[in-house]
Symmetry: C2
Subunit: 237 residues, 2 copies
């Protein structure tokens, strides 16, 4: 049973959610810089006054969207799959004689897909990243914390692969590799948008994951390498 | 001897050059979107009318700067160095028993430095690339032609290294590698600007070249790989 007092709360939450969804759609479509709170209110058939009741200004909308993006992208590798059996943790040491490499590669592939999907969903953040973080220092710091965590996750992932003898790479190579993974993942959609007209999210995400895997591939050995080559061929065909 | 009639031409050229240099400095400093022709004229102690006599509008200034950037960045590998002896062309087939790998690596390193220096010099183009090319289709096409030529140059370079047995990579690996080289080279300075505050051009360019070489490194073999590792260590120390 919903008490009467909660009706307003519910309505408020629904309105806020509608404003955020509409803002995200408009920001992604025409760029955040070209959208005003007036545009958003008009698209929702809402009075500007009503919008201001829910959000002080556009920056508050951007920050709330960023918070949702942050939650969405903060999935950790391993958690990407349904979750491994305790004795078979994909980023810990490899179990004896287990076909460990291919499984880890599938997981990495899925992880990259989810990461690029999050970026695609909130692509307005990435399109004018410099402007956005120049204007808002809090967003800059939060964005950098995301990159820091992703960098650490990729390094841990590679160290897991090295421990499992599925990868051959020195620590300094892993650091440079992780930086390149972050650069390509961060800017792949921008690069595609520059090169190809039109929105083709599925392809762009698949190609992005493929490009990032291509960074990792030459360091893989044995079954992991062979499995990645197979995945890559499936993708190209 | 400069004839009297040429005095005006010379003065016009000088004024245009001053406007372009000032615009480039302002665009790089605060972003092209935040600079108007009024700002540029004021910075030069010039009347807006005089500026308009030389440039119709800001877009014309941007296009002329782009043309200069295009010339600057269009240096080809090999031409980067003083130029090899005819019998020792670095991107053709390797001469028998020549210590070909290390030389090619030095050339590649220099080539990447020059490329990243050009990008740094005209970094305003890269900071809001999406906005810029969305606004101006001609710039979009010209920018894509630059990327196409760079992609072809990197592929040719890798094929040269494979022919010289300094690299081991399949054609599809070379294609994916070339795309990643372009993504990292294009966005490295943006990524650095996001991660670190302040302008440190020298370091950023060196680190960018290092990151791009790290993409190529795992495909190198023998003397070329050893030489790159040495260069990398020099850079890190």
């Amino acid at each position: 049973m919903v008490a009467k007092a909660d009706g307003n709360t519910l309505r408020t939450q629904r309105t806020r959610a509608r404003v955020l969804a509409q803002s995200l759609a408009l920001f992604n479509e025409v760029g955040e810089a070209h959208v005003t709170t007036g545009t958003i209110a008009a698209a929702l058939n809402m009075s500007p006054g009503n919008l201001y009741y829910h959000f002080r200004n556009k920056d508050q909308i951007v920050e709330e969207l960023f918070a949702r993006f942050e939650e969405r992208i903060d999935v950790q590798p391993g958690a990407a799959a349904a979750g491994p059996a305790p004795g078979n943790a994909p980023w810990g040491p490899a179990p004896r004689n287990a076909p460990w490499g291919p499984e880890a590669i599938e997981d990495l592939w899925l992880y990259l897909h989810l990461m690029l999907e999050s970026i695609w969903e909130y692509r307005f953040l990435y399109r004018n990243l410099d402007d956005l973080v120049a204007r808002n220092r809090r967003l800059r710091e939060r964005f950098n914390r995301i990159v820091d965590r992703k960098h650490a996750a990729v390094v841990a992932l590679c160290e897991g692969l090295v421990a499992a003898r599925a990868m051959r790479a020195r620590p300094d190579e892993i650091q440079a590799l992780a930086r390149n993974v972050l650069v390509v993942a961060t800017y792949w959609l921008n690069f595609r948008a520059l090169r190809v007209r039109g929105d083709a999210p599925g392809d762009d995400i698949g190609e992005g994951a493929f490009q990032v895997m291509a960074l990792v591939a030459p360091y893989l050995v044995g079954a992991a390498r062979a499995h990645l080559d197979r995945l890559g061929r499936t993708y190209i065909d």
